[in-house]
Symmetry: C2
Subunit: 487 residues, 2 copies
């Protein structure tokens, strides 16, 4: 199933990515956006084979995969539209005075070929033709994609769709390179290759950190954006908890077990304040989770790691099982909720680590000060959720302020699973949730990761990229002599 | 002169920077801009003592220092104005549909306290109260500044002006922390401190790379923006050279020797094509440089390094002295121009290294293909200059394309020294000219380095930062439901 490529083959594919990059640099911004729509069309045209293959390889349900396919297409189209408007060109024109002040114009161009490592949990939206590939091409960068071992056939179908879209559009196939092989050395060869100018990764902390170290310690350091997940704490505040016991218990368990808990925004940690409400709430959680049937995870390795992590958690002192789900088969993942005290949590750093799967941990705090201590001890998070009334927040401003320093997305009620593809989305938080909190990997703003500014000083109009020409032929938004305008 | 602080003192100052950071996070964007103007006012009010002290410490001429003081004030004011408009808030509002689509709003907030290391060559504009400090505060980050050994007294006067400005405005002095000490360990302690969330540096490759490694390899990796200079190649193309022999020779030598060659954008390398014009041009360069009198460099260490680098260059085989300047005293820096062939240059990587000071190297290429080879061999540059007619460029599109991949600012004629503080400016290029080509350290866009996005999902209006409130109380530019607007 896995195609083992030789070092020479891999080198050749990386080398060829310059052909794709040079093509993307030559064509206009408008044509680049058209090309992205052409790739979206090509993915859209894929038939049942894509869904059934992905289902077989990932165990994800058909409706979820159908939805994810639409999301993937939407990513290409919405990123293309934002690129077309020039949002990421960030064109700035200072016309100077023809004398001592120069004519200086700046726009953003692609960094160069980008290495993309897909995630197993979203075989479409965060893999081969996922958001990283779409945003790199949106930035004018060619991509060399490393096949994910969890879904090689799905990946190959998707890669073919991308290349078909490129070729039909009249673009060189080298805009998208595809490499595979079972050893870690394949990924390493990719990241340290001098032609590669940036890396995008979604997956585990161990994998992401290893690529970050490789990328920042090579001869020419390059940016590595690794999204590595987090425990996404939910802060259940007293008034809200009291008023919403049943509904909130059901909502939390739904979110925790959604997609077998295989989301980077899975709310693995719930902080609440000791008391009668919490005692009732814990019983409700146990009732809710008891209704959840075990399920097949993405692949056997993940299921094994989940099972081990869960048993490791249950073996920690002063950690109690509050309740678990229905078990039907040994290979399936059983959902569970555990409980512990803030004191125990603060004394055992293992308890703050992510468990990839449907397991939650409820931490009982003496009061909101202790809750702040627990939150303060955590590393950076993709999301933090307040389960709170407005009054709860007003009475806990310290928690609200602290939470803003700790995450990329802050929710008021609702649940963090569900990451919408919009301008307003921030999917990326302080380390260790990602390696660079200044960027997002979801939403059109993901394009920014792969751009750098280039200034042109005193150039005749004919040599300027269209983004910076006097006539603004692309009708993009620009800052001209300190004023934003599309003129 | 140098105040040696203890580790405990330094730790205390870094710790206190959280007081400053929290204050900046609490006040509105408009007030933050006002605070920046207050600091500018305080610098503006500094009298002759600043100039005479800087003159004594840096040997820079009075008129240059007076100009640099105005530039520094202008940096604070122009960055403040851009911050006030919300250019860097990048507010995005997706209102959702009240049902399945959430209300998601994003803006940029400060990363946290920033460590700033100033440069010796701009004691005002790139040091204590320089662009890095202004842009970090513009981003809502407090600053801990490490005093530069080259101008401690100047630095202390400027630090006092910043603190006076803060206190007069009613802000805590901890917005700006100041540390000093003669050992490298002081800087290291600063960069690895867990409270510090980003680093800005301007100086040598060795210094910048050391800080980059410390910052990216600490427990929580942080962004390190180091601007480390470059050789800023000038490509003299045939038609232009033939038509502008005398004027261009004079212009090049002026730029090369401006400020005793102590600019990061100093054009240390000139590439030209063999022939009669070049032979004449080399004689003209020799004539021009013969008029340049030696001068005192920033400090003795820099003068010694310059003299050694120059003699090292002259000892390389097949490198010839074309001409040098007037020598009056041994401690002063004598300007010089050397010449070599492209073949020699391509075989000796030392010849592409920056010499900090007024020394240039002319590389004779057989033709434009060989010129492309020389350019291709160079690392990333802050600037590349075409000394060319439009026809020259049209006939050398390969060089034009290649140059865009190699630098942050591309000039058509003119000289790269002179870095204007405007939106269009890019001062930052591919490695090794900087450690992150995605950012600039000059112009208001420098603020971006210290920001990260934070999304608010489904929050009541009252809890949102002003940047994201429905009424847009700050009247900043935002993208609301996919449209840019100030409504």
């Amino acid at each position: 199933m896995y195609i083992e490529m030789s070092n020479e083959q891999i080198h050749g594919i990386i080398q060829d990515s310059l052909i794709g990059y040079n093509y993307l640099q030559e064509i206009s911004l408008a044509k680049r956006a058209d090309l992205m729509h052409a790739i979206a069309d090509s993915i859209d045209a894929l038939g049942e084979e894509l869904i059934t293959t992905a289902q077989a390889e990932s165990a994800l349900p058909i409706p979820r995969l159908q939805g994810e396919k639409q999301r993937t297409i939407n990513q290409w189209r919405s990123y293309a539209n934002a690129v077309r408007k020039g949002v990421y060109s960030e064109a700035r024109i200072d016309k100077g005075d023809g004398a001592s002040k120069a004519d200086i114009r700046k726009y953003n161009k692609g960094l160069g070929p980008v290495a993309v490592f897909g995630a197993s949990n979203f075989p479409f939206a965060f893999s081969t033709a996922g958001g990283d590939t779409a945003s790199a091409i949106g930035a004018g960068c060619s991509v060399v994609f490393k096949e994910h071992p969890g879904h090689p056939k799905t990946s190959q179908i998707m890669a073919k769709a991308i290349v078909d879209g490129l070729v039909k559009f009249g673009a060189p196939a080298e805009v998208f390179g595809y490499i595979s092989g079972s050893s870690n050395a394949v990924g390493e060869q990719l990241v340290v290759h001098p032609i590669i100018k940036a890396v995008a990764f979604t997956g585990s902390f161990r994998g992401g950190k290893a690529l970050f170290d490789l990328g920042t310690q090579r001869n020419e350091p390059i940016p590595v954006f690794a999204e590595m997940g987090s425990v996404n704490p939910v802060l259940a505040l007293p008034q809200y908890l009291e008023q919403n016991l049943t509904a909130f218990a059901s909502q939390y368990i739904s979110s925790l077990t959604l997609g077998v808990g295989q989301f980077c925004t899975n709310p693995g940690l719930l902080l609440a304040i000791k008391g009668e409400s919490l005692d009732q709430f814990k019983l409700l959680l146990a009732q809710e989770i008891a209704k959840v049937t075990d399920a097949v995870m993405l692949h056997a390795g993940i299921a094994k790691a989940y099972s081990e992590a869960k048993s490791h958690l249950s073996n920690q002192s002063d950690v109690a099982l509050l309740g678990d789900g229905i078990s039907t088969e040994e290979s399936r993942a059983v959902a569970a909720v555990y409980g512990t005290s803030a004191t125990t949590f603060l004394g055992n750093s293992l308890l703050g680590e992510e468990i990839f799967g449907p397991t939650g941990l409820v931490v009982e705090c003496a009061d909101s000060e202790e809750m702040a201590l627990v939150l303060g001890k955590l590393g950076g998070q993709l999301t933090i959720t307040f389960a709170a009334t407005a009054e709860d927040v007003a009475q806990n401003k310290n928690l609200f302020t602290l939470a803003q320093e700790k995450c990329g997305r802050l929710l008021f009620n609702g649940m963090p699973t569900g990451v919408e593809v919009v301008y307003g989305m921030q999917h990326g938080g302080p380390y260790p949730s990602t390696t660079d909190s200044r960027f997002t990997s979801v939403g059109p703003d993901a394009v920014k990761r792969f751009l750098r500014p280039l200034s042109f000083q005193n150039w005749p109009n004919e040599f300027l990229p269209e983004e910076l020409q006097n006539e603004n032929p692309l009708k993009i938004e620009r800052i001209v002599d300190n004023q934003r305008t599309v003129e």
